[in-house]
Amino acid sequence: MAQQIRLEVVTPKGAVVNEDVDIVNAPGYGGDFGVLANHAPFLSTIKIGSLTYEQGRKRVTLMVTGGFCEVSNNKITFLVESAEFGSEIDVDRAMRAKERAEKRLAQALQHDETLNRTRAEASLKRAIARIKTAKSR
Protein backbone atom coordinates (compact mmCIF):
# COMPACT_ATOMS: atom_id res chain seq x y z
CA MET A 1 0.00 0.00 0.00
CA ALA A 2 1.18 3.45 -0.85
CA GLN A 3 2.29 5.80 1.85
CA GLN A 4 -0.34 8.00 3.36
CA ILE A 5 -0.49 11.44 4.87
CA ARG A 6 -2.50 12.44 7.92
CA LEU A 7 -5.20 14.99 7.08
CA GLU A 8 -6.78 17.21 9.70
CA VAL A 9 -9.48 19.79 9.00
CA VAL A 10 -10.19 22.02 11.98
CA THR A 11 -12.90 24.69 12.19
CA PRO A 12 -13.97 26.89 15.12
CA LYS A 13 -16.75 24.37 15.70
CA GLY A 14 -14.35 21.47 16.13
CA ALA A 15 -12.35 19.00 14.07
CA VAL A 16 -14.15 17.84 10.94
CA VAL A 17 -11.72 15.34 9.44
CA ASN A 18 -8.89 13.42 11.04
CA GLU A 19 -7.79 10.59 8.77
CA ASP A 20 -4.89 9.04 6.87
CA VAL A 21 -5.34 9.73 3.18
CA ASP A 22 -3.54 9.14 -0.12
CA ILE A 23 -3.79 12.59 -1.65
CA VAL A 24 -5.24 15.98 -0.80
CA ASN A 25 -6.24 18.63 -3.33
CA ALA A 26 -6.92 22.09 -2.00
CA PRO A 27 -7.67 25.60 -3.27
CA GLY A 28 -4.51 27.48 -2.39
CA TYR A 29 -3.63 31.11 -2.78
CA GLY A 30 -1.95 30.64 -6.14
CA GLY A 31 -4.37 28.03 -7.44
CA ASP A 32 -5.21 24.46 -6.54
CA PHE A 33 -2.43 22.29 -5.25
CA GLY A 34 -2.06 18.62 -4.40
CA VAL A 35 -0.22 17.13 -1.47
CA LEU A 36 1.06 13.55 -1.26
CA ALA A 37 2.78 11.72 1.58
CA ASN A 38 6.10 13.12 2.83
CA HIS A 39 5.59 16.53 1.33
CA ALA A 40 8.12 19.19 2.32
CA PRO A 41 7.03 21.63 5.08
CA PHE A 42 4.63 24.00 3.43
CA LEU A 43 2.31 26.79 4.44
CA SER A 44 -0.34 28.41 2.31
CA THR A 45 -3.46 30.46 2.66
CA ILE A 46 -6.70 28.86 1.51
CA LYS A 47 -9.38 30.45 -0.62
CA ILE A 48 -13.06 29.63 -0.71
CA GLY A 49 -13.39 26.48 -2.77
CA SER A 50 -13.50 22.71 -2.65
CA LEU A 51 -11.03 20.45 -0.95
CA THR A 52 -10.79 16.87 -2.13
CA TYR A 53 -9.07 13.91 -0.62
CA GLU A 54 -8.72 10.32 -1.74
CA GLN A 55 -8.42 7.28 0.36
CA GLY A 56 -8.03 4.15 -1.72
CA ARG A 57 -11.15 4.22 -3.87
CA LYS A 58 -13.00 6.61 -1.62
CA ARG A 59 -13.07 10.20 -2.76
CA VAL A 60 -14.45 12.92 -0.52
CA THR A 61 -15.08 16.55 -1.33
CA LEU A 62 -15.48 19.33 1.19
CA MET A 63 -16.40 22.94 0.71
CA VAL A 64 -14.06 25.16 2.70
CA THR A 65 -14.00 28.88 3.33
CA GLY A 66 -10.97 31.00 3.96
CA GLY A 67 -8.14 30.01 6.25
CA PHE A 68 -4.76 28.43 5.86
CA CYS A 69 -3.08 25.07 5.73
CA GLU A 70 0.16 23.74 7.07
CA VAL A 71 2.13 20.68 6.00
CA SER A 72 4.78 19.29 8.31
CA ASN A 73 5.92 15.86 9.54
CA ASN A 74 3.77 14.04 7.02
CA LYS A 75 0.68 15.76 8.34
CA ILE A 76 -1.50 18.34 6.63
CA THR A 77 -3.66 20.59 8.75
CA PHE A 78 -6.35 22.91 7.46
CA LEU A 79 -7.52 25.71 9.70
CA VAL A 80 -10.60 27.10 8.02
CA GLU A 81 -13.57 29.12 9.10
CA SER A 82 -16.03 26.50 7.98
CA ALA A 83 -16.05 23.16 6.21
CA GLU A 84 -18.99 21.23 4.80
CA PHE A 85 -19.07 17.79 3.26
CA GLY A 86 -20.22 17.77 -0.33
CA SER A 87 -22.78 15.12 0.51
CA GLU A 88 -24.37 17.38 3.12
CA ILE A 89 -24.80 20.44 0.94
CA ASP A 90 -28.29 21.53 0.03
CA VAL A 91 -27.90 22.40 -3.65
CA ASP A 92 -31.27 24.12 -4.01
CA ARG A 93 -30.48 26.37 -1.11
CA ALA A 94 -27.07 27.17 -2.53
CA MET A 95 -28.69 27.98 -5.89
CA ARG A 96 -31.11 30.37 -4.24
CA ALA A 97 -28.26 31.92 -2.28
CA LYS A 98 -26.36 32.37 -5.51
CA GLU A 99 -29.26 34.19 -7.15
CA ARG A 100 -29.72 36.40 -4.12
CA ALA A 101 -26.02 37.23 -4.01
CA GLU A 102 -26.01 38.03 -7.73
CA LYS A 103 -28.89 40.43 -7.30
CA ARG A 104 -27.28 42.10 -4.34
CA LEU A 105 -24.01 42.36 -6.18
CA ALA A 106 -25.68 44.04 -9.14
CA GLN A 107 -27.40 46.47 -6.81
CA ALA A 108 -24.18 47.24 -4.98
CA LEU A 109 -22.39 47.85 -8.25
CA GLN A 110 -25.09 50.24 -9.37
CA HIS A 111 -24.96 52.30 -6.22
CA ASP A 112 -21.23 51.89 -5.76
CA GLU A 113 -21.36 50.55 -2.22
CA THR A 114 -18.01 49.00 -1.43
CA LEU A 115 -19.00 47.25 1.78
CA ASN A 116 -22.10 45.64 0.33
CA ARG A 117 -20.14 44.70 -2.73
CA THR A 118 -17.48 42.81 -0.80
CA ARG A 119 -20.16 41.08 1.23
CA ALA A 120 -22.15 40.09 -1.83
CA GLU A 121 -19.01 38.90 -3.57
CA ALA A 122 -18.07 36.74 -0.60
CA SER A 123 -21.49 35.14 -0.38
CA LEU A 124 -21.55 34.61 -4.14
CA LYS A 125 -18.19 32.88 -3.95
CA ARG A 126 -19.41 30.69 -1.14
CA ALA A 127 -22.56 29.76 -3.03
CA ILE A 128 -20.63 28.89 -6.18
CA ALA A 129 -18.13 26.82 -4.20
CA ARG A 130 -21.01 24.96 -2.55
CA ILE A 131 -22.65 24.15 -5.85
CA LYS A 132 -19.37 23.02 -7.39
CA THR A 133 -18.51 20.90 -4.38
CA ALA A 134 -21.90 19.26 -4.33
CA LYS A 135 -21.74 18.46 -8.04
CA SER A 136 -18.22 17.08 -8.07
CA ARG A 137 -19.20 14.16 -5.91
Binding site: V10, A40, T45, F68
Partner: protein, 291 residues
Protein backbone atom coordinates in the same frame (compact mmCIF):
# COMPACT_ATOMS: atom_id res chain seq x y z
CA UNK B 1 -48.76 41.17 66.26
CA UNK B 2 -48.35 40.69 62.49
CA UNK B 3 -51.53 40.28 60.55
CA UNK B 4 -52.17 36.62 59.69
CA UNK B 5 -53.32 37.26 56.17
CA UNK B 6 -50.40 39.57 55.37
CA UNK B 7 -47.88 36.94 56.43
CA UNK B 8 -49.63 34.29 54.38
CA UNK B 9 -49.55 36.42 51.22
CA UNK B 10 -45.89 37.16 51.76
CA UNK B 11 -45.06 33.46 52.15
CA UNK B 12 -46.80 32.55 48.91
CA UNK B 13 -45.08 35.46 47.16
CA UNK B 14 -41.62 34.36 48.25
CA UNK B 15 -42.43 30.79 47.25
CA UNK B 16 -43.30 31.96 43.75
CA UNK B 17 -40.06 33.91 43.52
CA UNK B 18 -38.13 30.81 44.50
CA UNK B 19 -39.87 28.85 41.76
CA UNK B 20 -38.66 31.39 39.23
CA UNK B 21 -35.10 31.45 40.52
CA UNK B 22 -35.02 27.68 40.56
CA UNK B 23 -36.19 27.54 36.95
CA UNK B 24 -33.58 30.14 35.96
CA UNK B 25 -30.93 28.09 37.70
CA UNK B 26 -31.86 25.02 35.68
CA UNK B 27 -32.01 26.94 32.42
CA UNK B 28 -28.58 28.42 33.14
CA UNK B 29 -27.21 24.96 33.88
CA UNK B 30 -28.47 23.65 30.55
CA UNK B 31 -27.14 26.66 28.65
CA UNK B 32 -23.82 26.39 30.44
CA UNK B 33 -23.36 22.90 29.09
CA UNK B 34 -23.93 24.16 25.55
CA UNK B 35 -21.57 27.08 26.01
CA UNK B 36 -18.91 24.84 27.48
CA UNK B 37 -19.17 22.43 24.58
CA UNK B 38 -18.78 25.32 22.18
CA UNK B 39 -15.70 26.43 24.05
CA UNK B 40 -14.23 22.94 24.03
CA UNK B 41 -14.87 22.56 20.31
CA UNK B 42 -12.94 25.74 19.65
CA UNK B 43 -9.92 24.65 21.65
CA UNK B 44 -8.16 22.53 18.96
CA UNK B 45 -8.50 25.45 16.55
CA UNK B 46 -6.78 27.91 18.88
CA UNK B 47 -4.12 25.40 19.87
CA UNK B 48 -3.21 24.78 16.24
CA UNK B 49 -3.41 28.46 15.43
CA UNK B 50 -1.02 29.42 18.20
CA UNK B 51 1.39 26.72 17.11
CA UNK B 52 1.49 28.05 13.56
CA UNK B 53 1.69 31.66 14.68
CA UNK B 54 4.67 30.87 16.90
CA UNK B 55 6.33 28.99 14.04
CA UNK B 56 5.76 31.92 11.74
CA UNK B 57 6.50 34.85 13.97
CA UNK B 58 9.68 33.18 15.20
CA UNK B 59 11.52 34.76 12.32
CA UNK B 60 9.45 37.92 12.08
CA UNK B 61 10.61 41.17 13.60
CA UNK B 62 8.18 43.60 15.14
CA UNK B 63 7.37 46.78 13.25
CA UNK B 64 7.62 44.78 10.06
CA UNK B 65 3.85 44.59 9.85
CA UNK B 66 1.43 47.46 10.40
CA UNK B 67 -0.57 45.45 12.91
CA UNK B 68 2.52 44.69 14.98
CA UNK B 69 3.80 48.23 15.07
CA UNK B 70 4.74 49.42 18.56
CA UNK B 71 3.91 53.10 18.73
CA UNK B 72 4.18 55.71 21.39
CA UNK B 73 1.05 55.01 23.37
CA UNK B 74 -1.16 58.08 23.52
CA UNK B 75 -4.61 56.62 23.23
CA UNK B 76 -5.81 53.27 24.40
CA UNK B 77 -8.90 51.40 23.39
CA UNK B 78 -10.52 48.82 25.62
CA UNK B 79 -12.79 46.13 24.29
CA UNK B 80 -15.12 45.23 27.14
CA UNK B 81 -16.97 41.97 26.67
CA UNK B 82 -19.90 41.39 29.01
CA UNK B 83 -23.19 39.57 28.87
CA UNK B 84 -26.43 40.96 27.45
CA UNK B 85 -28.55 40.03 30.42
CA UNK B 86 -28.36 40.69 34.10
CA UNK B 87 -29.34 38.57 37.08
CA UNK B 88 -26.00 36.83 37.18
CA UNK B 89 -24.60 38.07 40.46
CA UNK B 90 -21.63 40.39 40.45
CA UNK B 91 -20.25 38.94 37.23
CA UNK B 92 -20.75 41.95 34.92
CA UNK B 93 -20.07 44.39 37.74
CA UNK B 94 -16.66 42.80 38.26
CA UNK B 95 -15.69 43.25 34.62
CA UNK B 96 -16.92 46.84 34.66
CA UNK B 97 -14.98 47.48 37.85
CA UNK B 98 -11.80 46.22 36.21
CA UNK B 99 -12.53 48.45 33.21
CA UNK B 100 -13.02 51.49 35.41
CA UNK B 101 -9.78 50.97 37.34
CA UNK B 102 -7.95 50.54 34.05
CA UNK B 103 -9.48 53.71 32.66
CA UNK B 104 -8.55 55.63 35.78
CA UNK B 105 -4.95 54.49 35.82
CA UNK B 106 -4.50 55.17 32.10
CA UNK B 107 -6.05 58.61 32.38
CA UNK B 108 -3.72 59.38 35.26
CA UNK B 109 -0.84 58.70 32.87
CA UNK B 110 -2.35 61.25 30.54
CA UNK B 111 -3.60 58.81 27.95
CA UNK B 112 -6.88 58.93 26.14
CA UNK B 113 -9.16 55.99 26.66
CA UNK B 114 -12.04 54.95 24.45
CA UNK B 115 -14.24 51.92 24.78
CA UNK B 116 -15.85 49.36 22.55
CA UNK B 117 -18.56 47.37 24.30
CA UNK B 118 -19.74 43.92 23.38
CA UNK B 119 -22.77 42.98 25.43
CA UNK B 120 -25.56 45.22 26.67
CA UNK B 121 -24.74 45.19 30.38
CA UNK B 122 -21.25 46.58 29.97
CA UNK B 123 -22.58 49.34 27.74
CA UNK B 124 -25.33 50.31 30.18
CA UNK B 125 -22.92 50.48 33.09
CA UNK B 126 -20.07 52.23 31.29
CA UNK B 127 -21.88 54.60 28.96
CA UNK B 128 -22.19 57.41 31.49
CA UNK B 129 -18.74 57.04 32.96
CA UNK B 130 -16.57 56.82 29.89
CA UNK B 131 -16.44 57.43 26.16
CA UNK B 132 -17.96 54.47 24.35
CA UNK B 133 -16.94 54.57 20.72
CA UNK B 134 -18.98 51.65 19.55
CA UNK B 135 -21.28 49.02 20.95
CA UNK B 136 -22.37 45.59 19.86
CA UNK B 137 -25.38 44.52 21.86
CA UNK B 138 -27.78 41.60 21.71
CA UNK B 139 -25.33 39.31 20.00
CA UNK B 140 -24.18 37.29 22.99
CA UNK B 141 -27.06 34.82 22.97
CA UNK B 142 -26.23 33.34 19.58
CA UNK B 143 -23.00 34.69 18.24
CA UNK B 144 -20.98 33.26 15.40
CA UNK B 145 -17.50 33.69 14.10
CA UNK B 146 -18.60 36.51 11.82
CA UNK B 147 -19.74 38.59 14.79
CA UNK B 148 -16.26 38.30 16.22
CA UNK B 149 -14.80 39.17 12.82
CA UNK B 150 -16.86 42.35 12.64
CA UNK B 151 -15.58 43.49 16.02
CA UNK B 152 -11.97 42.53 15.32
CA UNK B 153 -11.96 44.24 11.92
CA UNK B 154 -13.33 47.42 13.40
CA UNK B 155 -10.70 47.45 16.15
CA UNK B 156 -7.92 46.76 13.68
CA UNK B 157 -9.11 49.52 11.32
CA UNK B 158 -9.16 52.00 14.15
CA UNK B 159 -5.67 50.93 15.14
CA UNK B 160 -4.36 51.24 11.60
CA UNK B 161 -5.86 54.70 11.23
CA UNK B 162 -3.84 55.72 14.26
CA UNK B 163 -6.85 56.50 16.45
CA UNK B 164 -5.66 54.01 19.01
CA UNK B 165 -2.10 52.97 19.76
CA UNK B 166 -2.89 50.05 21.97
CA UNK B 167 -5.93 47.83 22.37
CA UNK B 168 -6.78 45.55 25.25
CA UNK B 169 -9.58 43.05 25.67
CA UNK B 170 -11.41 42.81 28.99
CA UNK B 171 -13.59 39.82 29.71
CA UNK B 172 -14.46 37.28 32.37
CA UNK B 173 -12.24 34.27 32.00
CA UNK B 174 -13.98 31.00 32.65
CA UNK B 175 -11.87 29.16 35.22
CA UNK B 176 -14.51 26.79 36.48
CA UNK B 177 -18.22 26.76 37.20
CA UNK B 178 -17.47 28.33 40.57
CA UNK B 179 -14.92 30.93 39.54
CA UNK B 180 -14.86 33.47 36.73
CA UNK B 181 -12.03 35.96 36.77
CA UNK B 182 -12.13 39.37 35.08
CA UNK B 183 -9.05 39.45 32.86
CA UNK B 184 -7.34 41.91 30.55
CA UNK B 185 -5.49 40.57 27.51
CA UNK B 186 -3.30 42.64 25.16
CA UNK B 187 -4.84 42.69 21.68
CA UNK B 188 -3.04 45.17 19.47
CA UNK B 189 -0.27 45.60 18.47
CA UNK B 190 -0.08 41.87 17.78
CA UNK B 191 2.46 40.27 20.05
CA UNK B 192 4.80 37.79 18.46
CA UNK B 193 3.68 34.48 19.92
CA UNK B 194 6.55 33.02 21.87
CA UNK B 195 6.83 29.32 22.30
CA UNK B 196 4.04 28.48 24.66
CA UNK B 197 5.28 27.59 28.13
CA UNK B 198 5.75 23.88 28.63
CA UNK B 199 6.18 23.32 24.93
CA UNK B 200 9.83 24.25 24.59
CA UNK B 201 10.44 21.42 22.19
CA UNK B 202 8.46 23.17 19.47
CA UNK B 203 11.17 23.36 16.88
CA UNK B 204 11.88 26.60 15.16
CA UNK B 205 11.55 25.28 11.67
CA UNK B 206 10.14 28.41 10.11
CA UNK B 207 13.15 28.67 7.82
CA UNK B 208 12.46 25.34 6.18
CA UNK B 209 8.91 26.06 5.18
CA UNK B 210 7.78 26.72 1.66
CA UNK B 211 5.46 29.68 1.83
CA UNK B 212 2.75 30.41 -0.63
CA UNK B 213 2.49 33.39 -1.05
CA UNK B 214 5.39 35.04 0.80
CA UNK B 215 5.71 35.13 4.60
CA UNK B 216 4.65 38.75 4.62
CA UNK B 217 1.49 38.11 2.69
CA UNK B 218 0.63 35.12 4.82
CA UNK B 219 1.09 37.22 7.92
CA UNK B 220 -1.20 39.82 6.42
CA UNK B 221 -3.91 37.18 6.22
CA UNK B 222 -3.11 35.43 9.46
CA UNK B 223 -2.93 38.43 11.74
CA UNK B 224 -6.53 39.56 11.21
CA UNK B 225 -7.59 35.94 11.63
CA UNK B 226 -5.60 35.78 14.83
CA UNK B 227 -7.47 38.83 16.11
CA UNK B 228 -10.77 37.17 15.25
CA UNK B 229 -9.69 34.17 17.24
CA UNK B 230 -8.92 36.29 20.31
CA UNK B 231 -12.26 38.10 20.17
CA UNK B 232 -14.19 34.90 19.52
CA UNK B 233 -12.42 33.20 22.40
CA UNK B 234 -13.28 36.11 24.71
CA UNK B 235 -16.92 35.94 23.63
CA UNK B 236 -17.06 32.20 24.20
CA UNK B 237 -15.58 32.54 27.65
CA UNK B 238 -17.97 35.33 28.55
CA UNK B 239 -20.88 33.22 27.32
CA UNK B 240 -19.89 30.29 29.50
CA UNK B 241 -19.00 32.46 32.49
CA UNK B 242 -22.31 34.29 32.32
CA UNK B 243 -24.29 31.09 32.62
CA UNK B 244 -22.04 29.76 35.36
CA UNK B 245 -22.38 33.02 37.31
CA UNK B 246 -26.14 33.01 36.84
CA UNK B 247 -26.33 29.43 38.01
CA UNK B 248 -24.56 30.28 41.27
CA UNK B 249 -26.50 33.50 41.75
CA UNK B 250 -29.84 31.78 41.22
CA UNK B 251 -28.86 28.92 43.51
CA UNK B 252 -28.08 31.45 46.23
CA UNK B 253 -31.38 33.21 45.58
CA UNK B 254 -33.31 29.95 45.88
CA UNK B 255 -31.60 29.17 49.17
CA UNK B 256 -32.31 32.68 50.47
CA UNK B 257 -35.98 32.20 49.53
CA UNK B 258 -36.08 28.96 51.51
CA UNK B 259 -34.66 30.73 54.58
CA UNK B 260 -37.19 33.54 54.31
CA UNK B 261 -40.07 31.10 53.92
CA UNK B 262 -39.05 29.14 57.01
CA UNK B 263 -38.68 32.33 59.07
CA UNK B 264 -42.04 33.60 57.89
CA UNK B 265 -43.67 30.27 58.66
CA UNK B 266 -42.47 30.56 62.26
CA UNK B 267 -43.93 34.07 62.45
CA UNK B 268 -47.20 32.84 60.93
CA UNK B 269 -47.51 29.93 63.35
CA UNK B 270 -46.80 32.16 66.34
CA UNK B 271 -49.41 34.64 65.21
CA UNK B 272 -51.93 31.88 64.63
CA UNK B 273 -51.23 30.39 68.05
CA UNK B 274 -51.62 33.80 69.68
CA UNK B 275 -54.97 34.28 67.95
CA UNK B 276 -56.18 30.85 69.13
CA UNK B 277 -55.06 31.59 72.71
CA UNK B 278 -56.84 34.94 72.64
CA UNK B 279 -60.07 33.39 71.48
CA UNK B 280 -59.87 30.65 74.13
CA UNK B 281 -59.32 33.27 76.79
CA UNK B 282 -62.38 35.15 75.57
CA UNK B 283 -64.53 32.01 75.75
CA UNK B 284 -63.24 31.02 79.19
CA UNK B 285 -63.72 34.60 80.41
CA UNK B 286 -67.28 34.62 79.08
CA UNK B 287 -68.09 31.30 80.74
CA UNK B 288 -66.66 32.50 84.04
CA UNK B 289 -68.80 35.63 83.89
CA UNK B 290 -72.00 33.57 83.44
CA UNK B 291 -71.45 31.56 86.60
Amino acid sequence: MPNLKEVKTKISGVKKTSQITKAMNMVAAARLRGAQEKMEAFRPYTAKFNETMSNLSGGATTNQFPLMENRDVKSIELLVVTSDRGLCGSYNANIVKLALTKIKSYEKEGKQVSLVCVGKKGYQLLNKKAKVRKKYTDIMSSFQMFNAREVATDLADNFLKGNSDKVEVLFGRFRSVASQVPTAVPFLPVQPVENIAGKENVKKISGDYIYEPSTEEIMDVLQPLYLNVIVYQAMLEVGASEHAARMTAMDNATNACKDIVSNLTVVYNKARQAAVTNELMDIVGGAEALK
